[in-house]
Symmetry: C2
Subunit: 349 residues, 2 copies
Amino acid sequence: MKAKLQDIADRTELSIATVSRALRSEQDALVSHDTRVLVRRVAREIGYQPNLLGRSLKTGRTNTISYWTFDAFSAYYAQIARQISEQAVARGYSVAINNARDASHSLAAAGTYETDFDSTYADIPMAAHYDGIIAACDVSFARRDFALVKRPPSTPWVGINVSYDCDLDHAFLDLYDGALQVMRHLLGGGLRSIAIMIRGGKTLSCDPRVRAYKEMMEAAGLPMQHIEVEAHGRSQGRASMVNYVENSRALGRALPQAIFCVNDEVAIGAYRGLCDTGVRVPDEVRLVGCDNIEDTAYHACPISTVAMPVDEMCSTAWDFLENRMREPELAPQQIVLKPQLIVRESSQF
Amino acid sequence: MKAKLQDIADRTELSIATVSRALRSEQDALVSHDTRVLVRRVAREIGYQPNLLGRSLKTGRTNTISYWTFDAFSAYYAQIARQISEQAVARGYSVAINNARDASHSLAAAGTYETDFDSTYADIPMAAHYDGIIAACDVSFARRDFALVKRPPSTPWVGINVSYDCDLDHAFLDLYDGALQVMRHLLGGGLRSIAIMIRGGKTLSCDPRVRAYKEMMEAAGLPMQHIEVEAHGRSQGRASMVNYVENSRALGRALPQAIFCVNDEVAIGAYRGLCDTGVRVPDEVRLVGCDNIEDTAYHACPISTVAMPVDEMCSTAWDFLENRMREPELAPQQIVLKPQLIVRESSQF
DNA sequence: GCGTCAATTGTAAACGTTTACAAAGCCATT
DNA sequence: AATGGCTTTGTAAACGTTTACAATTGACGC
């Protein structure tokens, strides 16, 4: 079967302990030079690979962290997952992606992410022995106390993506500020009729983007216009947009001059919906998305969006996590990163 | 610390073996009903979670498989990764995504996937104890013998995505057939000047899409036209397209009537490149991509593409893998799945 | 020749499980 | 009363490491 320490010990006529030391220790410490060379040669010859289970069981360290998320594979979240992964490899860790969507197919099918961490993160991620956790949470989660999330006690834990006003480690994006930039841009262009396109329910009441939108509209003395989508994907954005335009025409209601979409996928869907109904972008309706996924820049009419400092967020989160693993009693480490509005043709004046 | 079997044993005044049996065995086998109930109650009370490392070390099973890939997070591959993940959860497994790109930052940055499995899959995935491996390989790999890939000996292994003409388990996509459909469509529309847009080098000589393109063009007595891209991403597609159009204009050379792009990202980039240079799609140039990533359907001019049966491929691969784990001596299990051309506006006549 | 020290190696326990085997208890059959 | 079989439980070894501690060796200074 697979080679183990004992096999090397047999062949070299050394004890298993010496073999272990010869393989692990840096330089020629703890073991003579000749032994070191011999052991390593034999290890290579018989293709020895350490059994990580045995090692981890003894050391209590797995060199694996868990990335908890609601959605690892759609464009924006995939950027984050990729970054977390690459950082992991660079820092000598493996990462297990624990995707809440996987655990709830029906929810995934419906495209809704209103998932309960406690119920979907069932036994496997809880029982597995991770050295740390990076959790990217959803906006729908915002009102809950991050600290209440069920997780292995005393496992180092860092939150990313969306803010929760808690005193745990986190590297968050300032969605509120991003939305302010969008609204200043649109209002600054002289627009008076601006809608926001986002899911209803809990998300609507919690989302910092909605808060920024509301405040800016109220400050300008303008009424709020909410276009609802069932979920934050392309298809829902398109369906909702087509429906909205047709209704507006039936009612003789004017379309808004601009629509601020909760994310780029919805914006892309809305864009296509406007194409479907023959509404010109940006002449009749201006469009702004959020997240800066790659595709926004490639449309015939490139779509304005808000760029998120994903790389910085992820590497900071990793720094925080490594600090916490080294020094468990550290004070909470927190950073809130500013996004950056990117104006493209879809909202140019 | 964390609760373990011994803690339950102490509290119930049973032996550790009985506790283990009470927790694991189905029904009331091997253990009396009362004991079973008692043990489970105490386990819940003290929040017992089994230590997966200890268990796996003993049983030799980790209930984890590895997904080997060159790129887990771009749109098309993310679809596959998601499907593999969801299937894993549904079947009671965890999946570790071992991404070759993570291991080679420079390559990732360059957007080139010409990575060597042997060198990038270094120690971690080799040493980790996986029950099985699903490997999604790249076209650039096509000429090599799949069987030569370095991997833990005797670990069940299934190949997906691209064919390698080997006798190992695989669930492959018939890219050749997909490309035939594209070429029949374009030639059937009466076009005479058709280019293919793909990376040069090894990829160009190996790719079954190129083979289909060549054969069909030769059969029609038409010359091959190759537009090279540096890598198979949007930005490279755009840059290459802009460059090609400008050169053509400078040389007074006519543009091809259609371009068959190696994948959708390149097609989207090319589409944008044609917008940049003021070339109309599909009136002047027709465009066909490959993979059917979601974005293609949402552009102002929806892009024709080839839909891959990703879900079927992944669930079949999982079936194969589970069969192989159960029955190591099974004959090679193989299936080659047909893609399906989707004609959209970008190549309508 | 003896004690001290450093360098190297070995012994054995531990990490938390699972499981083969043995043991004990009980009941029914002879 | 002895035998056999069934149910339930316990004992102990094993999975492959790491590491505290002990042991051995040789060199060296006195």
